[in-house]
Amino acid sequence: MNLSNRERSIFGHMVFETGITVYYLWYAMKLPVDTLLNSKEWVGLVISLIPIGIVGGIIVGAIVIGTKSKTTAADERDRGIESKADGIAYRMMIVAIALYLGLIGFTYGIQPDLVPDTFAKQWLTFAITPLSVLNALVIIMFVAETTKYACQLWFYRRGY
């Protein structure tokens, strides 16, 4: 597939952010759910992300830009595509947050009366701790960002 510089840049950022998010979640999910956000384990995880982010960003930037030193500024079409993709990602984020809040409300409010002691009840019952909420927000932000990049690539390929 013949990608323009801008498409390669978007694709590179998408891969990079996916890598960082998967790395974070891989280790964050292994931590006990009641881990505090000022604990040694969590702070260590976040600090380990910094050099990985810097080095990864440089590598992806070098691969994306390649030998071409000339980077073109965004024009009206680029800005329009980004704006439209931002709008879709924003709506996606709002819906995801609403669903998450709904799940919390359902689990801690209505659900115990409606759902008997079944698999569903066990599955839906989850602890709400600073770490679990943060992880949920990271996932929501990741989904929104990925949606944005995917929409941008779609509009560049299919027309806008």
């Binding site: 801008r6 079409r77 806008y160």
Partner: protein, 75 residues
């Protein structure tokens, strides 16, 4: 996504302007070559300002570069 209904003569006009390249046109109007490609392929409708800039590069009126199909009139 469907093509826009606005058609254009940019490819022809470039040919008759000493076979001006898409990159050269893009430089003159201040956009990327990809945007010129998208406009030529009718995959993107330029803003009015950009459309005027394109017409000015070829020394033409706007209507000579871009055309929009007439709607059937309901009289």
């Amino acid at each position: 996504m469907a093509k826009t209904r606005i058609s254009n003569q940019i490819r022809t006009l470039r040919f008759f302007s000493d076979e001006m390249s898409q990159a050269a046109l893009a430089d003159k109007i201040g956009v990327t070559r990809q945007t010129v490609m998208a406009i030529e392929a009718a995959k993107y409708s330029p803003s009015l300002e950009l459309a005027f800039k394109i017409a000015a590069v070829f020394g033409k009126e706007l209507g000579e570069v871009f055309t929009y199909p007439k709607e059937p009139q309901n009289d």
